[in-house]
């Protein structure tokens, strides 16, 4: 922490919490991002009748070194971080992945011309975690 402080700007920053934030949490921290697609982009609107648009969302960003309760991460995540930093970088840092999902209802036309309404589990990411 002290070598970081050497690089600290001479004049104390106006907003201390912003200042310390750069040390505690990475800039592009692991979080949920929006993504909307329409099945016509995939040329599937011929057999997927509904919904017209679908927002699967996704998780992206760096995991803080001490994740702890913030992401509901198991202790293993910090262990993996220590291994990555102290022992073997090839192990790789913990990843930012979805922790919870919500279902999606889809109306499709089957190859035999029958029509099916189906509710699929885990089709929309609603929460992220570091694992």
């Amino acid at each position: 922490r002290d070598e970081n402080l050497k690089e600290a700007p001479a004049t104390p920053p106006s907003n201390l919490s912003e200042y310390f934030k750069q040390f505690l949490f990475p800039q592009n921290e692991c979080e949920l991002h929006n993504f909307r697609l329409s099945f016509s982009q995939l040329k599937w609107d011929k057999w997927i009748i509904a919904p017209h648009r679908y927002s699967p969302q996704y998780c992206k960003g760096d995991c803080p070194r001490a994740v702890g309760h913030r992401y509901g991460s198991p202790v293993h995540t910090m262990v993996q971080n220590i291994i990555y930093e102290k022992l073997d970088p090839s192990v790789g840092k913990p990843s930012c992945v979805p922790a919870e999902y919500s279902p999606l209802s889809v109306l499709t036309i089957e190859p035999d011309g029958s029509i099916v309404y189906k509710e699929y589990e885990d089709m929309i990411a609603t929460k992220c975690t570091c694992r």
Partner: protein, 304 residues
Amino acid sequence: PHSRGRVVSDKTSGFLVASKDTASELNPLLQLPKGVRRGYALLPPLLKVLSERGHQSWASEAPRLQPDSRALRYMKRLYKMSATKEGIPKTNKSHLYNTVRLFTPCSECQHRHRDLRKGDVHSVDLLFNLDRVTALEHLLKSVLLYSFDTPVPISSSTTCTCRLSVKEQDFPGQVCPSISHSLALSLRVEVRKRKWVEIDVTSFLQPLIATNRRNIHMAVNFTCLMGDPQHNTQLETPIDAALVPPSLLLYLNDTSEQAYHRWNSLGHRRKIPARPRQGNSPRVDPMGDKGKENSQGKRASRRR
């Protein structure tokens, strides 16, 4: 690779379950486990897209038979009642199904005749092919869905009698086979600007679907009298002129991993399991250690 296969496989194998042709195309290891025929509507094309490299145009699926427009209109209406605009399933308790399949008859022998005493009789032999129903989809309710082609006069209520009979094929390919067992249903239909009449045939079809019958032949006689049957008023408009061959609607509970199970979300929100879920792994005992011995005893007796 071996350990990766071991840790990841049972979590993703459910996801990578696909119709036979797609799976073997992708990777011979992805053979379907026995009994799980045909993938789920979404998976085969998703896998096909994933198996294509680069930015080739997303191959649209093989041409599909186009469904009947009335059937499509009915299913879009069902979709609006069951899900939000974004496609999120609505959580109303009565809605236990997570799958609804609508089949239009693949062949029919129609007979129409007018019987002055009984009004118009609309009888039709229907063949429904239920190949798309997977082994993991359990029947909750089945309905014959009649739609009226022309606006039925709404002068008075209509009393309809429907006689159903299942036919056994004496030999493969026989178009209009003989009758094996039948059922008469009398239902009073308030046809007031209604486009659809639903006839519940669950008890009738349950034994057939439970025995995995894939081709269902049935003869349906549909007789309707307008107005009050006591005065035996004639049909103002022959109702059978308005009736088109019925579709078969199956409300199902898909018990597979990919399907959404309401009680999972009502009971507790599913999270990423710290380790892949092993089937019905026994829940952690809320009593912690002190209740270990009797909870183990309990668990053993439950398992027995």
